[in-house]
């Protein structure tokens, strides 16, 4: 009994997050029931929609890929106390840069594909250097600057596909990229593309960087306590600039992988807000690289599962937004849940008390 309790205590943040997510589902279930629908029926179609067959499963995975990479983008910033809310903009620029490299350049695949991915990453990374400069040199709060910088990026790509790049067909988009710049489909007839390997590499890279290298240790030290970092010879501004750059690179890479694996061109408004979702994904993933994969799977499944659910059970699609919102609310209310959790597993301390002391 004691060991079980200890285990639950040690994993407190993990379990609280799981409870928060479950709670969100219960609330949604109640809403469904209240509007005269059968929640269990809905769950059935939801799970079937997300993982019911090969096609659905691979569709889900293909959404998990950009969510994970973008989630890692937020994570590497946040671990160094850089709150990059501009991932959407960096992702769009990355997608555009990679699409341009993908259709203009003619090269063999083994070099073309890496080059186009790199172009995407660099575009995102360089764009993130603007808020980095604003933050470390001009002390401009990065949450404001990054959120604002989403707009120029969106409208710039919009402008490019509408006015500058010759339009093929009716949709505003760039021309298709060369075969050599595409991520191959892994299973014939499905959406599952080789971007899944890029995703795995990104996750392992982030974990390795943050927890196995001196650089990552320094980034985390900056994230937790800048004064102490400075006192111990860590160049705080440099590390933050690097975190911005890396975060932007990951965001750009997420966009490039979408282009190379799914759309094969830059399609105007192709991103259903992956950049914004990345923040929730990273936070629900507890800013842990592997946690991000799990939470991205959840949010990816939300996107595909709801589709089928709405078709078969007559529940409106807009519910995705609602469920998303409720999950976010529940996760944000974690502190309250934490209080109950602690009461069950720790005696009666309130979570607040723990925090107040630790301030």
């Amino acid at each position: 009994m004691h060991r079980i309790r200890k285990f639950f205590l040690k994993q407190q943040p993990v379990f609280i997050t799981i409870i928060a997510v479950l709670l969100a589902f219960v609330i949604v279930g109640l809403i469904l029931a209240a509007t005269g629908r059968n929640p269990f029926n809905a769950v059935y179609f939801f799970v079937r929609g997300a993982f019911g067959n090969m096609f659905n499963t691979t569709d889900t995975i293909s959404r998990v890929i950009p969510l994970t990479i973008a989630g890692i983008a937020f994570l590497v910033g946040a671990q160094s106390s850089v709150f990059n809310v501009g991932i959407e903009g960096q992702l769009l620029l990355g997608a555009m840069a990679s699409a341009v490299v993908g259709y203009i350049v003619k090269l063999p695949a083994y070099i073309h594909l890496p080059l186009m991915l790199l172009a995407g990453a660099l575009a995102g990374g360089l764009y993130a250097l603007i808020p980095a400069w604003l933050k470390t040199k001009r002390k401009v709060n990065e949450i404001l600057s990054t959120i604002m910088l989403n707009y120029p990026a969106t409208y710039f790509t919009h402008f490019l596909v509408l006015k500058v790049i010759p339009i093929e067909g009716v949709v505003p988009a760039t021309p298709f990229i060369e075969e050599t710049a595409r991520l191959p489909i892994l299973i014939e007839g499905t959406q599952l593309h080789a971007g899944v390997f890029v995703m795995i590499m990104v996750v392992i890279f982030a974990y390795y960087l943050l927890y196995k290298t001196s650089l990552g240790y320094e980034m985390r030290a900056v994230g937790y306590n800048k004064t102490a970092a400075r006192f111990h010879g860590i160049p705080v501004e440099k590390r933050m600039n690097f975190a911005f750059f890396l975060s932007g690179m990951m965001a750009g890479l997420a966009g490039a992988v979408e282009v190379a694996g799914v759309h094969y061109r830059f399609l105007d408004q192709f991103s259903p807000g992956y950049g914004f979702d990345s923040i929730t994904v990273a936070l629900v993933g507890l800013l842990n690289p592997f946690g991000v994969v799990i939470s991205a799977t959840l949010f990816g499944a939300l996107k595909t599962g709801i589709l089928e659910m709405s078709v078969y059970s007559g529940i409106p699609r807009q519910l995705t937004t609602l469920i998303n919102g409720i999950v976010v609310l529940c996760v944000a209310a974690k502190d309250m849940l934490g209080g109950w959790y602690a009461r069950i597993f720790r005696g009666k301390d309130t979570y607040e008390a723990q925090k107040e002391i630790s301030q």
Partner: protein, 508 residues
């Protein structure tokens, strides 16, 4: 005898750690009741339970003979309990009076602050207990000692009858401590009850009526002041005799390792903070820097590690000039530092104990090959230091945040002394340490000295300066006004010089 406060069999578990083990305590009204014990003995935990920050696992609390249930600090305040935290929770951009009244301010028609009344009431309270604070000064402009009084005022304004002071003197100068004791005496005479925690047994003997000794979470004994003395208390605390003894004479003093020449610096308002500072630290000696707090010590430490921009002067390690180098380069040139503010400067609280024990060394052998961390080396280093320095932690993966104050300090001291480069700058190295740990840290510093390193010691405690120093530099208004051999001065001489008094210079 009426007891204002009784604790019956209080237990507190943190996971596997038993921080309080059946603690029972009776506190008489109108007394100063001190609580002493080793680092990690459970003093702060017990006080936090009383103030409603933690809930005891078992046990009962009685106030004025009635059983009470304290669920939160607001319950505690309701019951007349006030706590003065070591890390003050004041708002710097507001005035003293506004801080005191915060949350319960008198208003005009429930909308506007009644500033006149706010100031008047603060002044009234301050005068009643001789706190001597100006209600209108901004908190950001007042000293640590005064800030503490503002905290006391806050508690008094909320009608506290029991005041908890957890290591209130750790951050104070000796003079400020004396002032605080006068205030405490006045509060006591007025019928307030004070719970007082300190590691300085001299203070305990000076102001207590009763003293409770904790060890490993258990009450060892509660004694009357008249029936005990410092030696006896120390024995009760640690289970053996400990005295702080003067350091043995240095074995061999060598050449100057650290040389500071005509260093000058100004603060952000262009006021001089370091004024033509010149001194050196030699191999095999401890150079103590004596001075009243706020005379440039903080800036000097920062200058020596590359965090204070200089407007003039030079700093050398041996013959290498290190002025204007980055912190990293100055450190690798051979400077190590124990910073004065452990939570802000010395530790990353959210790092584990083992991660903290190689902070600053994350790119040096054996912890790293420059790129990758060698976690095996990190672990064995942590295990060794935890053992040698007796850092009380359940395991080395425990977050530093969860350790007791003194044990956090031990992490910093252990890291910096164990991996000491040529010069160690030790700023308040024993702040918050119990007597045994203080003695141990003194020994370690002397060991480094005798290994041929130079130690630059900053301490607010003249006693500590006198115990450890080979030579003493006196700092006053940003300038080193004298450097003297320890054997040539008395604490009284030093006290005078620290206040700007002149002294016939004895060539050191």
């Amino acid at each position: 005898m009426a007891y204002i406060l009784e604790l019956h069999d209080i237990c507190k578990h943190f996971g596997n750690v038993l921080a309080n083990d059946h603690v029972s305590l009776k506190v008489e009204k109108g007394t100063v009741h001190s609580i002493v014990g080793e680092n990690g003995a459970g003093k702060t935990t017990l006080m936090n339970i009383l103030y409603g920050l933690y809930k005891q696992t078992s046990g009962e609390i009685f106030i004025d003979g009635t059983k009470v249930d304290i669920e939160s600090p607001s319950d505690a305040i309701e019951l007349g309990i006030g706590m003065i935290h070591q890390h003050f929770k004041l708002i710097p951009a507001m005035t003293v009076a506004e801080n005191v009244m915060l949350g319960e301010e008198p208003t005009l028609g429930k909308v506007f602050l009644d500033l006149k009344k706010i100031n008047e009431r603060t002044l009234e309270l301050s005068d009643k207990y001789g706190l001597a604070v100006n209600p209108k000064s901004m908190v950001e402009e007042i000293s640590v000692g005064i800030r503490q009084r503002v905290e006391i005022l806050k508690a008094l304004y909320r009608n506290a009858n029991i005041l908890i002071l957890d290591e209130p003197t750790a951050l104070l100068t000796p003079q400020e401590s004396e002032d605080l004791f006068r205030i405490i005496e006045r509060l006591r005479k007025d019928g307030k009850t004070i719970l007082f925690i300190s590691h300085k047994l001299k203070e305990i003997m000076q102001i207590s009526n009763n003293i409770t000794v904790l060890r490993d979470g258990k009450v060892v004994d509660t004694v009357k002041k008249e029936d005990t003395d410092e030696v006896h208390l120390a024995r009760l605390m640690v289970g053996r005799d400990v005295f702080l003894k003067p350091a043995p004479k240095p074995k061999k003093i060598g050449e100057a390792i650290l040389r500071v020449e005509h260093v000058t610096a100004v603060n952000e308002y262009h006021h001089p903070v370091l004024n033509d500072v010149t001194f050196d630290v030699r191999s095999g000696e401890v150079l103590g820097v004596a001075g009243v707090d706020g005379n440039g010590q903080t800036e000097l430490v920062k200058a020596l590690i590359g965090l204070q921009p200089l407007s003039g002067g030079k700093i050398f390690i041996y013959d290498q000039e290190i002025t204007h180098l980055s912190v990293k380069k100055m450190r690798s040139a051979g400077i190590g530092v124990i910073p004065e503010d452990r939570l802000q400067e010395g530790l990353v609280e959210d790092f584990s104990v083992q991660e903290n024990l190689f902070l600053g060394l994350q790119r040096s052998q054996p912890f790293s090959n420059g790129t990758n961390i060698n976690w095996g080396a990190v672990r064995s280093n942590a295990e060794e230091l935890v053992k040698v320095y007796d850092i009380r932690t359940p395991n080395i993966e425990h977050k530093a945040r969860l350790l007791s104050g003194g044990n956090q300090q031990k992490i910093i001291v252990a890291r910096e002394i164990f991996h000491a480069p040529d010069t160690i700058i030790a700023s308040q190295p024993t702040r918050g340490l119990d007597i045994a740990a203080t003695d141990f840290v003194h020994e370690q510093l002397i060991k480094q000295r005798d290994a041929g390193k130079g130690v630059l010691l900053f301490s607010l405690s003249l006693d500590e300066i006198m115990l450890l120093s080979t030579r003493i530099a006196v700092i006053y208004k940003g300038a080193i006004v004298a450097v003297v051999n320890k054997d040539d001065v008395t604490p009284e001489d030093l006290g005078l010089m620290m206040l700007g008094g002149s002294y016939e210079h004895i060539p050191a």
